[in-house]
C-alpha cells in the first residue's frame, strides 16, 4: 500500500513534535490509543486564557505513518483556533486532506479523539464541565 505524498511529507517533516508543560493550567493534554493496538497519540494544546484561542499545539505519536501524519496535521489545524472550534474538527476532514485509505481511517479517529481529550482536560483544569461526545463510530 502506497502512502499519499501528504502523509509522507508529514512523516518526514512532522510539525509541532514536542511536549508542553502539563502542570500549567492553560495546557490541555489528550492521551489516546494503547500500545497493544499499535498506536498511541498524545496531543497538547496551550490556550491564551484571555481570548480562548489555542496559541500552541504539540504532539507525540507512537504508530504508523498515517497516525503520525494525522496528529501532525491536527496540531497545525489547532493553532489559532478557539477551543470551542477545535472540537469541531472532524476525522473525515483529516482523511480527505491526507488521502487516507480505509484501513487507516482509525488513525484519523484517534486524532479527533486526542483533540477532544485535550480540550476536555483543559476545561476540567479550568473548572468547566467536560463536553460529552458521541462515541466515535470507527475504532
Amino acid at each position: 500500500m502506497a502512502y499519499s505524498e501528504k502523509v509522507i511529507d508529514h512523516y518526514q517533516n512532522p510539525k509541532n513534535v514536542g511536549t508542553l508543560d502539563k502542570s500549567k493550567n492553560n495546557v490541555g493534554t489528550g492521551l489516546v490509543g494503547a500500545p497493544e493496538c499499535g498506536d498511541v497519540m498524545r496531543l497538547q494544546i496551550e490556550v491564551d486564557e484571555a481570548t480562548g484561542v489555542i496559541k500552541d499545539a504539540k504532539f507525540k505519536t507512537f504508530g504508523c505513518g498515517s497516525a503520525i501524519a494525522s496528529s501532525s496535521l491536527a496540531t497545525e489545524w489547532l493553532k489559532g483556533k478557539s477551543v470551542d472550534d477545535a472540537v469541531k474538527i472532524d476525522n473525515m476532514t483529516i482523511v480527505e486532506e491526507l488521502n487516507l485509505p480505509p484501513v487507516k481511517i482509525h488513525c484519523s479517529v484517534l486524532a479527533e479523539d486526542a483533540i477532544k481529550a485535550a480540550v476536555n482536560d483543559y476545561r476540567k483544569k479550568n473548572g468547566l464541565p467536560e463536553l460529552k461526545f458521541e462515541e466515535s463510530v470507527v475504532h
Binding site: 502512502y3 509522507i8 512523516y11 512532522p14 513534535v17 511536549t19 492521551l31 489516546v32 490509543g33 494503547a34 500500545p35 497493544e36 493496538c37 499499535g38 498506536d39 498511541v40 497519540m41 498524545r42 504532539f59 507525540k60 505519536t61 507512537f62 504508530g63 504508523c64 505513518g65 497516525a67 503520525i68 484501513v103 482509525h106 484517534l110 479523539d113 475504532h139
Partner: protein, 405 residues
Amino acid sequence: MLQLPVYLDHNATTPCDPRVVEAMIPYFTQNFGNAASRNHPFGWQAEEAVDYAREQVAKLVGADPKEIIFTSGATEGDNLAIKGVFEMYASKGNHIITCNIEHKAVLDTCKHIEKEGGEVTYLKVKPNGLIDLAELEAAIKPTTILIAIMYANNEIGTVNPVKEISAIARKHGVLFFSDAVQAVGKIPVDVNKDGIDLMAFTAHKMYGPKGVGALYVRRKNPRVKVTAQMDGGGHERGMRSGTLNVPGIVGFGKACELAMNEMKQDAELLSKLRDKLENALLSIEEAYLNGDKEHRLPHVSNISFKYVEGEGLLMGFNKNIALSSGSACTSASLEPSYVLKALGLGDDLAHSSLRFGLGRFTTEEQIDFTIEQVTNTVNKLRDMSPLWEMYKEGIDLNTIEWAHH
C-alpha cells in the same frame, strides 16, 4: 558500491539466480513439450528434463528421485501432505499434532481437517520459538496419525529439533511431516538422517522460480501414501495430477544444484553479515532479539525496537530497504504477528518488530547502509514517541489505563 534498493525480505521470496533463468529459457520456446507425451521427441525431451531435475531436487535433500512429487509450491505441498495423510490413514486414526507458529498453509489446513471431523492438537512453543519435545510426546494418543512441525520458522528463523521429533514419531508409529520451505537450500536437510516421512518445500525461497515446489513422500521404512487432492491424469505416481510445469521444474532443479554446491559458503558469508547487522542493531537501547540465537537459520534476524511501531519504522526507509514488520498495520488485519505473540511477546513488542532476511546477493555495503538507516529512524521516531518519553521519565506503561480501541 552501494546498490539500492536493498532487498532484505528473503524469507518472503528470493530473486531467481540468473543461472536458473538461463537453464529454464529453452523449455519455454524450443523444448516446450508435455512431459507426459510419450510418442514424440518433444515429450521425450521434456520428460528427460523433468527426470534430471527430479534427481537434482532429490539429491539436495538426500531422497530417492521417485520420492519427489512436483507441486505448484509449498502451500499445495502442505495441503497435499496433511489432507492426503488424513484421508489415506483414516482407518488408523484422525488425530494430528502441529504447533501454533506454523505457516498459515499448515494451520488453515489443520482447521479444515477439524471441520472434516479430525482432531488437531496445536502445541505451544517455548519463548525461544522451539517446540517442547516432552509436550509433543505427551500429546500423542492411539489415534494420532501425523505430526506436522515446521523445519524452520519463517518469521524468526528458529530451527526445530527435527531429529528428536522424528525419533518420537518413530517410537510411536506416527508419520512426521515437515514444512521445510525456509530450511531447504539454506541449511543441510537430509530426509533420512532427519527421519522425515513427508516434507514440503518450494523453489522461490531458494533462488528458483515461483509456482513450483515439491512434496517429498517416503517410499521405504515406512512406505507412505497420500490421497490425491486433485483428480486428473494421474501424474506424479497418482498423487498430483496436472501437466508438469517443465520450465519451472528445470529451474527448481538448477536452483537445488546451486544450493547443493554453494550452501556452505552462502551460509558462512550470510551469518557473518547477519551477525554484523544484528550486533549493531541490538546495541540500540531497548532493542530485543526474537527467537533463539543458537538454533536458527544463518540469514535471518528478528528484532523488536521497543517504543516505536513497526510500520512507522519501515516507512522511514522503505524506499531504499525492503523489509517485513511483525506489526499488523502492514497487512490488512490489525492484529500483530501471531508468531511473535505465541512466543509470549506483549503486543507492544510484537508491534515493534522487524524481520531481516539476508540473501545470496546481499552485500556488506548494503548491511552498513541498513544499520545506519534503521538506527537513525529508530532514534527519530523515539523522539516523537510518547511511550519513549514516558519510559525515559521512569513511568511504568503497565500502570496507565489505556483507552482500548
